[in-house]
């Protein structure tokens, strides 16, 4: 199972805790994880990536294993630690503080 940590607003929208688990068939990439996430939580469609272009929304970023994956290809395999469930994929609001 792939672990995904959601930002507060999306946890509230999906009515989940701060971490969810999704099952991914085939290669584990940003795209396949987000596909699985949106199947499990349809209300998240359009909130992380654009409905039509499937591009990451501009004020969101993706991290895992202390690396910024935001600008990686959505079809690039995610780190092995994410694949094995040792580390989560973090979806984070892009502006800190405030």
């Amino acid at each position: 199972m792939i672990r995904v940590v959601l930002p507060y607003h999306l946890r509230r929208l999906a009515n989940v805790g701060n971490e969810v688990q999704v099952e991914v068939q085939g290669q584990v990439t940003q795209r396949s994880v987000l596909n699985a996430l949106e199947v499990q939580y349809p209300m998240l469609c359009g909130t992380i990536r654009d409905h039509v272009t499937q591009q990451r929304r501009p004020f969101l970023r993706f991290f895992a294993c202390q690396e910024d994956l935001s600008h990686e290809s959505p079809d690039e395999p995610l780190p092995e630690a994410v694949v094995t469930g040792k580390e989560p994929l973090l979806i984070v609001g892009a502006i800190a503080g405030g």
């Binding site: 349809p42 209300m43 469609c45």
Partner: protein
């Protein structure tokens, strides 16, 4: 005994305020959709238990929420998933996509930007939800960048009424300070094919064929801040209101100027009269007295707060021009709040109730048509919208 349900959208969630017909004791429920901006909530006249809400965020985009039990529980109406040809799931409920299809879409891809250059249409949020008068599953959405969408399946899927953007003047539309928003949608109860809408800063438009074709209805508007003050389009209309019993008479709060039309928007005359300032956002009409209207004058377009530090609703019982300040129960010193364009509503009880919300988080109610006011709540997040349902 009949009652009212006041639907309040704020910058950090939504609230539902309920009372019986006396409107002196209130139950406050919320916040709903905590932490999100709720631009607008509105109940269906066909089924008062059906309420739609626009939940929006600069980070996470647009979500439509729907309640079928008067606001006790909510759902995102997209529900189940379908598989797109590309293989990824295709959620629908929050999907607002401009129509560019060769059959109905227009090759209209830009509007005027702040600097006068052309800029592509980009969906940002839903400003206003207007349920159909006779079908709880049909609802219209006015959006930024300005367009009108319609759902016939309770908010699950949305289709643009693209004749509005495509009617010809779109490239001249430009954003106001709050963005290029379609903020007003008025359905004519006497003619299901007639809809009025208003856009900042393009002006007011009308369709007489259910949304297929549209025409600007801005004759008589005069705006000194645009190159041609009497242009067909480009006016920053802030809000338009009508009384359903006389839908051909429209009242408008423009950026500056309060206006009136007696012919469905074909022409307008100014009715600002003795107002201390004719800048403002809200305007509404008494539920039973067709010539009684309400505005809240705001100091200026540079100073978005009430005039002289006094929160005053102005009422005209003569359809405009002659206005009286309504102050009883409202703060008359050191008050510097604004009342945004969708933040006033009237109920239809025998003694018409008037409601408005402020950027300071107060929601006021008058159970006597404006003669006196009481705060229902004082310390909500900044209020974006107020609607009221009159319940049997």
């Amino acid at each position: 005994m009949s009652g009212v349900r006041v639907l309040v959208g704020t910058k950090k969630g939504a609230f539902i305020l309920s009372s019986d017909g006396k409107r002196d004791k209130w139950e406050v429920n919320g916040p709903l959709f905590t932490g999100w901006e709720v631009y607008h909530m509105k109940g269906s006249q066909a089924d008062p238990n059906r309420i739609y809400a626009s939940q929006t965020s600069g980070w996470f985009g647009q979500v439509i929420q729907r309640s079928s039990d008067g606001g006790k529980t909510w759902e995102t109406p997209g529900g189940g998933m379908t598989q797109s040809p590309q293989g990824w799931p295709a959620g629908e409920s929050n999907k607002f996509v401009y129509d560019v299809s060769p059959e109905t879409g227009k090759p209209l891809t830009t509007h005027q930007w702040y600097d006068g250059t052309q800029h592509p249409w980009e969906f940002k949020r839903v400003w206003h939800l207007e349920p159909s008068l006779n079908d709880a599953d049909t609802v219209y959405a006015g959006v930024e960048d300005a367009a009108l969408f319609k759902s016939k399946d309770g908010g699950r899927t949305w289709q643009e009424l693209s004749g509005l953007r495509g009617h010809g003047t779109g490239p001249k539309w430009q954003p106001g300070a709050g963005g290029m928003c379609l903020h007003t949608v008025l359905l004519d109860p006497s003619n299901p094919n007639r809809i009025y809408i208003a856009i900042s800063a393009a002006g007011a438009f009308r369709t007489d064929d259910g949304g297929k074709t549209w025409k600007p209805i801005n004759k008589g508007l005069h705006s000194q801040y645009i190159p041609d003050p009497n242009a067909e389009i480009g006016h920053c209309v802030h809000h338009v209101a009508l009384n359903p019993k006389r839908p051909n008479v429209l009242f408008m709060q423009k950026h500056w100027d309060v206006m009136r039309s007696n012919n469905g928007g074909d022409s307008w005359t100014e009715i600002s009269g003795n107002l201390p300032t004719d800048f403002g956002f809200v305007i509404d009409v008494h539920a039973h007295e067709l010539e009684t209207i309400y505005v809240v004058p705001i100091k200026s377009d540079s100073e978005h707060f009430v005039h002289e530090g006094k929160l005053r609703v102005y009422r005209s019982k003569t359809g405009g021009n002659e206005w009286e300040p309504l102050t009883k129960g409202l703060p008359q010193s050191n008050c510097f709040v604004n009342v945004l364009r969708d933040a006033m509503a009237v109920d239809s009880l025998d003694n018409c109730g008037v409601y408005f919300g402020t950027t300071g988080g107060q929601v006021y109610c008058s159970a006597d048509a404006g003669d006196s006011w009481n705060p229902i709540v004082r310390d909500l997040p900044s209020v974006l919208s107020v609607e009221v349902q009159t319940l049997p």
